[in-house]
């Protein structure tokens, strides 16, 4: 079939008009991005029906989707738009098929329809299924759609931005051929959690019934099973790629898939939060050791003092890790328990690493990332997802509490609906739910504990499949899921089980052009590698 350049590059005038209205809708959604205190998803607003089009493969989805807790579809169809497209990769054409629509996850135990999952699948090549991997991508939150990974990471098309620079501003809809797409290596399926994107529960189930660690992962398992069955991909090497909360989701999901008899070849944990109780940033100040953040605090401070990370970065970070695991750790529990004064030698090291005053460290020895971000540069707020981004306190970029999110979130969220419509030929009558504030309704309990520790889930998956490959990718400037805490969490699995990769970037490390290139190289090696587990 002929390439559909018209779908890729529509007439400029029509795009600008639709862009403005889409931007308004999705920007309001983006306000709560990253799990801040945003209002619950508004009831769906029916918009003008999309223009009738005769382009082949188009699907005008008439369903009104809702992210409300009690919402449920009365029934669901497995319909999708299909488009043949091509990008230019390394000067050569890469032809692919994009399939955009819904598949029904049926409950493994009862066989009843449970949820209608919205997904975009990119497939390419003519290799037999057994030789062609398929990778499932999803963000986290909980409550985030997979728009960040879909529009920003390794799909064949991506949003071009200057991130982490704040100028020029990221422009919604500025999509380019992605030279770092993983499509040359694996088919890619981007799927949205229930209550986000266009994914929704099917009656008698409701959206909120999927808002919990175990029920969410079980629904993802049932979607993956369905996708593999419908597309005859059971023989394909299966990879999972989860970001942030999507990483603990991956651990639970990998175990559920393995126990269900679905082999998982490899998992990628992007900016992982594997064990919620080990991350001091999750809790009110003064409750948990912030050891996991100390190397990130050191790296970020060095960056802001010098304009870049140190040239001898690995030595620098190794010393920071040793300081965190040694002197810092030995004094932090006594400080938390009864405010026991830390030694002046340890305080002096913290001052030297961060530039933050000794008096502040004496008062707040286990400093949480929110406090660090407010204190590091007086008069400025630095980013949580990417601490390289800074903005004057009180300025427009700080209104969400994270300038690194505000600088790019609206463009990411503002791109998706038009992209689905103009390039992928899927139109919906409701807004794409980029982010849904489900936090207060999420059931975080897992394995009988109030908060999830999902390392045992990975261990269980490895027990069933000792060949399962695991790679963790983190950013040095991420002050939400710090790289060293991820290293500590995953080290519990034993030496050599997990491949660790850290980058000069933030939480969505792939948004940075130079780092996405590095990640692509590492992912390519990961896909080709054999398991390194014992």
């Amino acid at each position: 079939m002929a390439p559909v350049t018209s779908a890729h590059r529509p007439h400029r005038t029509s795009r600008v008009t639709t862009l403005t209205s889409a931007l308004l809708a999705s920007l309001l959604v983006a306000c709560g991005g990253g799990g801040g205190g945003a209002p619950a998803a508004a009831p769906p607003v029916a918009q003008q029906p999309p223009p009738v089009t005769t382009l082949p493969g188009t699907y005008a989805d008439p369903v009104v989707y809702s992210g409300a807790p009690t919402a449920a579809l009365q029934s669901a169809e497995e319909r999708a738009a299909t488009v043949q497209a091509k990008i230019t990769l390394d000067g050569k054409a890469l032809d692919y098929t994009a399939t955009t629509g819904h598949l029904t996850a049926t409950d493994l135990a009862t066989g009843q329809p449970a949820a209608s999952f919205f997904y975009v699948a990119y497939t390419a090549g003519t290799l037999p299924a057994a030789q062609r991997p398929v990778t499932f991508f999803y963000n986290g939150g909980p409550g985030s759609s997979s728009v960040w990974l879909h529009i920003g990471s390794f799909a064949p098309r991506r949003l071009a931005t200057a991130f982490p620079a704040t100028t020029p501003a990221a422009v919604a809809g500025n999509l380019v051929d992605n030279q770092e797409t993983l499509l040359d290596h694996s088919d890619l399926v981007f799927v949205d959690a229930v209550g986000t994107g266009y994914s929704q529960a099917i009656a008698p189930r409701t959206n909120a019934q999927f808002w919990g660690v175990d029920q969410d992962a079980a629904a993802f398992r049932d979607f993956v099973r369905r996708y593999l069955a419908v597309n005859n991909r059971q023989a394909s090497p299966l990879y999972l790629f989860g970001e942030s909360y999507g990483a603990p989701r991956t651990a639970v999901l990998a175990n559920l898939l393995e126990s269900a008899g679905v082999r998982v070849t490899g998992v990628v944990l992007q900016s992982a939060a594997m064990n919620y109780t080990s991350n001091c940033g999750m809790f009110n100040p003064g409750q948990a050791s912030c050891e996991g953040y100390i190397p990130s605090y050191a790296a970020v401070a060095y960056y802001h003092q010098n304009g870049s990370l140190p040239t001898d970065l690995s030595t620098f970070l190794q010393k920071a890790r040793e300081f965190a695991a040694g002197p810092y750790r030995s004094e932090v529990n006594a400080f938390i328990a009864n405010k026991a004064a830390p030694s002046e030698a340890t305080i002096a090291q913290l001052v030297s690493y961060t530039g933050i005053a000794a008096a502040t460290w004496r008062q707040d020895y286990s400093m949480v990332p929110g406090a660090y971000r407010a204190r590091l540069l007086p008069g400025q707020m630095i980013g949580r997802y990417d601490a390289r981004v800074k903005a004057p306190s009180g300025s427009a970029l700080t209104v969400d509490g994270d300038p690194s999110l505000t600088v790019v979130g609206p463009a990411v969220n503002g791109s998706v609906k038009n992209y689905l419509q103009n390039e992928l030929r899927y139109t919906a009558v409701t807004s794409y739910i980029g982010s849904n504030n489900v936090l207060n309704q999420w059931n975080f309990s897992h394995d009988g504990k109030p908060l999830p520790d999902t390392i045992p889930d990975l261990a269980a998956a490895l027990t069933l499949n000792p060949s399962m490959k695991i790679m963790a990718m983190s950013g040095y400037h991420d002050l939400a899921t710090p790289f060293y805490q991820t290293e500590l969490d995953l080290a519990r699995l034993g030496p050599g089980v997990v491949q660790i990769r850290n980058y000069d970037s933030g939480h969505m490390s792939y948004l940075d052009d130079k780092v996405r290139r590095l990640q692509k190289i590492d992912l390519r090696a990961f896909y080709n590698s054999a398991s390194v587990a014992q």
Binding site: L23, P369, A374, V399, T463
Partner: protein, 114 residues
Amino acid sequence: MKTMFLFLLLTCAAAGASAQDPVGADGQLPPALRNRPATPPPAAGAALRAQALAKLEAQFKEADRDHNGSLTPEEAKGFGFVARNFDAIDTARRGGVSFEELRAYLARVKAERR
């Protein structure tokens, strides 16, 4: 267009400001869960392997609908890993597999990889 964008950004600001968290709280957990629960040190090594096996045993028991400690091929559909490898696990050829037999199978597979 640029003015429009700024306007939207400001609208967004007004909507978000009232719900903003105080400095120090990152808001990844609902307020009720932001007091850290008392938690035993995270398991590693042999303790972690035991936890992993306990998880699998719980899943096994869930599939064992008649609670006789053994999965038939029919019951194994609820634990697809066992269904997929049934004959290799059921070395005694008795048409049922116990959790001990599953453990023994997993140990054999792991040993063969070495």
